[in-house]
């Protein structure tokens, strides 16, 4: 009988590069930037790392395939490096590999590092790719904003929300994230915006305007994990452990079967339930202290508040406008600026979310430090509403 991951693995150290348009650096240098911070935070040497998981999504734009780019960049001592790719949830996937390796007893100290170098394409927005040989022959041509914008029309139809109310609510999602990002010196976008700016921005994909879309950034993030026992033996205090690590993938139901109404993430609800069970959380709205969710687009964050069972179904639109998820709200969300403002270097994003939760739990988040958070949740999503990978991870103080 599986006993789950709760409290079996501790985060020994984390690092995160500055995110943004890093014209000065390639993926190789970004990896080193995040890694050195993690190494120093963990208080270990490269020679102590026994296995590594490496995540990057768009290999053709940055490092190419395989695990060697990480091994070479960090001059790892010929240990195993497993490259993982699972759309925008790749960073969480790398973390999962390292955590499971430690939990399995296969190694004492493991590394998870995610990187993405997106700003070498010559144009804005995410690079276009080739999704195999069959899908290009029938799949609708569209962009990430156009795919996620689908949620808005279905959500409005299901809950009877007016176009104006929804637009205002998603504008608030972005205004809140910009306010948070302004306090984060590693963030890609550090300027606050007003609701009017969000409402009147150029349209990207109806109803998403420019400020409803997250930044396309370069960056890397990194975690070094071990067992709580080893962490304690190394003299660590305030040990942060993994409480839950869940991943749910679409199996074609949303895109093929008429039981899904298009207004929510089928996978997120499944991953969230499993994660709460694994972490022993019964009342998420009261028990989760803070969250970093996959706000690739404002509408994604809005519906995710319901998928994670924090807002009741159909109520997120009002909870958002009431400030429930603001920095001074009941469950602060995207306290580091989120994908929206911290940025979204795809392969790194899942680890970046954990980085913020980790800093907050250790009281090291500086100007944006929340008061005494206990449980941090990360939600990392890849794909599109009708076909995706969803990760929900929960971390907190050891024993809490």
């Amino acid at each position: 009988m599986a006993t789950g991951i709760k409290d079996k693995v501790a985060i020994l150290g984390m690092g995160c590069s500055k995110f943004g348009e890093r014209w000065d650096m390639g993926a190789e240098e970004l990896m080193v930037e995040a890694y050195l911070e993690a190494l120093s935070d963990a208080g270990v040497e490269t020679s102590q790392i026994q296995a590594a998981w490496f995540s990057t999504h768009i290999d053709e734009q940055s490092v190419g395939k395989g695990g060697t780019p990480l091994s070479v960049a960090l001059r790892l001592p010929n240990i195993s490096v497993t490259r993982v790719e699972n759309f925008c949830a790749s960073g969480s996937e790398a973390f999962r590999g390292a955590v499971y390796a430690v939990a399995a007893g296969a190694c004492d100290i493991a590394l998870a590092l995610g990187v993405e170098k997106l700003k070498d394409t010559g144009y804005g927005g995410l690079p276009t790719g080739q999704p195999g040989t069959l899908l290009p022959q029938w799949g609708a041509n569209g962009s990430a904003p156009g795919n996620f914008a689908q949620l808005a029309s279905a959500y409005r139809a299901k809950h009877g929300v007016s176009k104006e109310d929804l637009k205002r609510s998603i504008a608030h999602v972005s205004v809140k994230s910009h306010a948070n990002g302004a306090k984060n010196q590693k963030a890609h976008l550090q300027k606050p915006i007003t609701e009017d700016m969000a409402l009147n921005a150029p349209m990207i994909a109806e109803p998403l305007g420019l400020f409803d879309c997250c930044g396309v950034s370069d960056g890397a993030a990194c975690a070094i994990v071990t067992t709580p026992e080893i962490a304690r033996a190394m003299g660590k205090k305030d040990i942060i452990t993994v409480k839950a690590l869940q991943l749910a993938l679409s199996n074609g139901l949303e895109s093929t079967h008429n039981s899904w109404d298009g207004s929510y993430f089928h996978t997120a609800r499944i991953a969230a339930k499993r994660a709460y069970d694994e972490a022993g959380i019964k009342r998420p709205r009261e028990q989760v202290s803070m969250m970093e969710v996959h706000d690739c687009f404002s509408i994604t964050e809005l519906v995710t508040m319901e998928d994670l069972f924090i807002s009741d179904e159909g109520r997120a639109v009002y909870d958002v406008m009431d400030g429930y998820y603001d920095a001074d709200g009941k469950v602060p969300c995207q306290i580091d600026g989120g994908l929206k403002c911290f940025g979204h270097p795809i392969g790194a994003s899942g680890l970046r979310m954990l980085y913020e939760m980790y800093l907050q739990l250790q009281g090291r988040a500086g100007a944006r430090q929340l008061k005494n958070p206990k449980i941090g949740l990360t939600h990392n999503l890849g794909g599109s509403p009708s076909m995706n990978v969803c990760s929900v991870a929960i971390i907190g103080a050891h024993g809490a």
Partner: protein
Amino acid sequence: MTGHTVGITNFGAYLPRLRLQRKAMAVANAWFNPSIMGQGKGERTMANWDEDSVTMAVEASRDALPTDKDPIAARQHIGAVYFASTTMPFSDRQNAGILSSALNLPEHIHTADITGSQRSGLSAIIFALEKIAAGSTPSALVAAADRRSTRAGSTQEFQFGDGGAAFVVARENVAARFLGSHSISVDFIDHFRGAGEEYDYNWEERWIRDEGYSRIVPRAVKGLLEKTGVAASAIDHFILPCTFAKLDQQIAVKSGIDASKVRDNLSANVGECGTAHALLMLADALENAKPGQKILVAAFGQGCDAALFEVTAAIEKNRPQRGVKGFLARRKEETNYMKWLAFNGLVEMEKGMRAEKDNKTALSVTYRKRDMLFGLVGGKCEKCGTAQFPRTRICVNPNCGAVDEQKPFSFAELTGKILSWSADYLTYSQDPPQHYGMVTFEEGGRFLAEFTDVDIGAIDTGAEMRMVFRVKDFDEKRGFRRYFWKATPV
């Protein structure tokens, strides 16, 4: 000669929704050619960027064929497919084969492209009728469509239209009995388009009118009337595509046919649609014809084909769903001449780097998935009844999961509803914004589909959508184009 028992059983038409206003064309070109202002009247049909002669032939054929929810079963009676056009998208890849696949027709039939002249459309019908009369096939589908390239500001740009027509010809239940045909074949070069050339080269209009039409067409008409033993005075409808004003009436009179019997050539609101035009005019005539009426149709081009039909009582129940009349009504005025230029490759727009995506097509995949990609065929689980697209080995129904139980099921003739949508300004589209969304079918099944022929701000969730066969992407590097089905408002 009345021995024929073969004829037309069904017919259909297709006209693209956009109607380019000739005034807008004239205003845009008058600086270069002031005399063009005189042509600035009425409108012409304008194909959307994703339409070509094959897609228009598919639509015209659907108008002529049974549109049962199960087109695979309903169209088994078609024994051959002939496609006529001088603007086929492929020079060497049978275009009729694409048409046949898109219509879910059986694979054990004869298909062929008929091309090379403006009279190819009528030639194809005569050819098919004679094949049936000879007993080599019980029925055939004949479709013609054209989307001709013209230079900006040319007379042809004003005169031409884009469109298609289709006929089912057979030996039973005919709505218009074939009485006979007569042809004159003579290499009269009024215009030509050399192999690999984009545009026609035209000779002097007066010569074409006086030495071409006026001398050649009457010979074909006379020969036909003599052959069939029908008096000129017995003709109720005279059809002759011709861009010279009133020349059709002069030729009718010269042939002994009253000028009042000459059918409107749709020049005011459609334009001349190439090989399809005689067929479009025939479809238009049949839509309004009464049993017993005789229709003479002639088509000019390196000679002339002429054919005679007699309408039967079956016409009353064999008229098309939409027809010329229906498609004339499905209309959107277009006054943006720049859009016309862009859709027709007459101006090079700045497409941005996103358009650099390589659209190379894996042809072995295209073949393996041909019923899916061309016939919009998914699967229906025999165990739980769930329709699904695409067809897979394992049923998607979470309460079923049956293995290898899905039977082919086409979604092409089903009406869908919009579950979710967006208008995407980021994705490259030849007609931004790119509209797409999840389309669900009452019978089960759904997929994220591109939308076409939609207007900004005019769609929403719950809207009913019809599936149409269109160009999905062009591979300009290799001269290939992909087709797939898109959704358009019903």
